[in-house]
Symmetry: C2
Subunit: 326 residues, 2 copies
DNA sequence: TTGAAAGCGGTACCAG
DNA sequence: CTGGTACCGCTTTCAA
């Protein structure tokens, strides 16, 4: 089913059909009706590829995330998508599973779509990618990775601040043996988080500590906790790099008979919606994902790029999974 | 950056560039190298729209789901995506939020992409949509809704069976006051589930029961439970239409001081991965989402459509959220 | 082994 | 108001 067939059947030119379908340019009311009717009858659906090719300006935003199954990323995607669709834009996502090679492939693939903007919300990075992207004139937003540059704006969360607050809070509750559970310790931003933990903890001379790492997600969290406990270390508090992993950590603790928070306190990071539904409700650090999604939209579409850095202040949320050290 | 620019710079025709980039047709080794080098230098990225338009056969699958934030749908998407990308296909998703109008829009939008196949994993339906789709020659898979037809295959879960098992199980544990928590009670498949509950329960003459409905998701589950308890009815078991809502139901029960399962038993449906990480681990009915994702792929791509019905047998998984009636 | 050129299905400008 | 037509950027014959 093509525009031409519709045109033929309606006895008009393709130009006219295009005009009525897109409400562009004047068309006699009667003609309009006729075309509309035929298009309806034929169940005509414009070929999007032809449309884009001919059309010029792009109507799609690209978004690359590390792990779409982690609600943190999913939430950002959903709010971006919401804002975008309100403006008549579509957003296509791709998930890299934290692999730099997939990130490169994803970026190339997105670029092939000639997007109106690109959001790169990932933890992995490939140095040459930065150069490549810097040269482009597509508006880009990075989260966590990258540096501001022409047409590139960065969104960064003051992770240290959240971490610091958390450690101080736990310390005040009497905790002196803490562990950090993370994932992909080799990737820049994630390594940095681990280091932040280490740095923070060292300012308290009398705190024993350790860190473990496993896959992102509840299962990874569970395995990490398992490793941790198997090592013989007995933390009274476990700080997780994100809520998603914290879910698994709590499960493993319970399976091994530890009460939360009576015997072990657990904290997360992100404040995914699930975190207040689990039991005990998770003490965590809020990162305003919906706000981030909207920001991404604004930077990409309304500011049409710009450049610079946006800092987000995370906020400690005390709930039920933490308490006085035993 | 276009093919032509690459061609010009490499001193060859666009045809040749196309050949080397796609590895189609013979090209002298030296020419190939030169073209490749230039393409690299120019960071050439083919325009996907032009490619598709010229190319002919589609390399994309469309998938429409009711609520991408519900892990049930997300899991199916991820496994389909996995299978597809292994075969060099991409899949684009759209989420309807259970609105029939959005379903219609989503289908049209997908059709505009001239997909190689379309998966419609939703609970809402629009009668005229069925006709429209039946006329098409695109392979289609429905889950939950629709009827088999030419090029249309249906995947259905024997919901009654799972429900029956669950009720029997709870009955055997002594439960005589049960409630069903659902969402979108007006939509066919969901209404059917509620009815299944009602039908099943009626075969046990001495069971008091009721049903409530709210939005899909933990928050909806919480609100539903709130309503339920506010009504004065005191169920000893609450059966949820899915795990996602069950999370919220459990939270509300606890907030109101009920112990699970000592005072109230809770069951879910789907067996999303989260269900074994929450506390208490959720008794639920397994629906093999990854298998469904793979099936969708096979039907769409390998069988290139076909038609018929695929039945899936769900299985009760007893975990910690259910126990003897108090 | 390579190039010229005809589409693919639209959009939009220019005449009429 | 409407039609003719030149692209958009790539793939794919068909000849050379």
């Amino acid at each position: 089913m093509t525009l031409e067939q519709v045109a033929k059947r309606a006895g008009v030119s393709t130009a006219t059909v295009s005009r009525v379908l897109n409400n562009t340019g004047p068309v006699r009311e009667e003609t309009r009706r006729r075309v509309l009717r035929v298009a309806e009858e034929l169940r005509y659906q414009p070929n999007r590829y032809a449309q884009r090719l001919a059309g010029g300006k792009s109507r799609t935003l690209g978004m690359i995330v590390s792990n779409i199954e982690n609600p943190f990323f999913l939430d950002i995607f959903c709010s971006l998508e919401e804002a975008a669709s309100r403006a008549g834009l579509e957003v296509v996502v791709e998930s890299t599973n934290y692999e730099a090679s997939r990130l490169v492939a994803a970026v190339r693939s997105m670029l092939g779509r000639r997007p109106a903007g690109l959001a790169v919300i990932v933890s992995e990075m490939e140095p040459r990618l930065m150069e490549e992207l810097t040269a482009l004139d597509v508006p880009i937003v990075f989260y966590d990775v990258g540096r501001p540059a022409h047409n590139i704006t960065n969104i960064k969360v003051r992770y240290e601040k959240g971490m610091q607050r958390t450690v101080e809070y736990l310390y005040a509750l009497g905790h002196r043996r803490m562990a950090f559970v993370g994932h992909h310790a080799g990737l820049g931003p994630l390594q940095e988080r681990r280091n932040t933990f280490l740095r923070t903890i060292k300012s308290f001379a009398d705190v024993e500590h350790t860190t473990v790492s496993n896959a992102d997600g509840p299962e990874g969290g569970r395995l990490a906790a398992h490793q941790l406990l198997a090592s013989g270390f007995r933390p009274t508090a476990i700080l997780c790099v994100n809520d998603f992993m914290a879910l698994g950590v709590m499960r493993e603790l319970r399976d091994q008979g530890f009460r939360i928070p009576a015997e072990v306190s657990v904290t997360g990071f992100d404040n995914i919606r699930l975190s207040e539904f689990v039991y005990p409700a998770l003490t965590t650090v809020d990162i305003p994902r919906r706000r981030i999604g909207r920001m991404v939209f604004e930077v990409l579409v309304q500011a049409e790029g710009g450049s610079g850095e946006i800092l987000i202040e995370p906020e400690l949320l005390v709930r039920e999974s933490t308490g006085r050290a035993p």
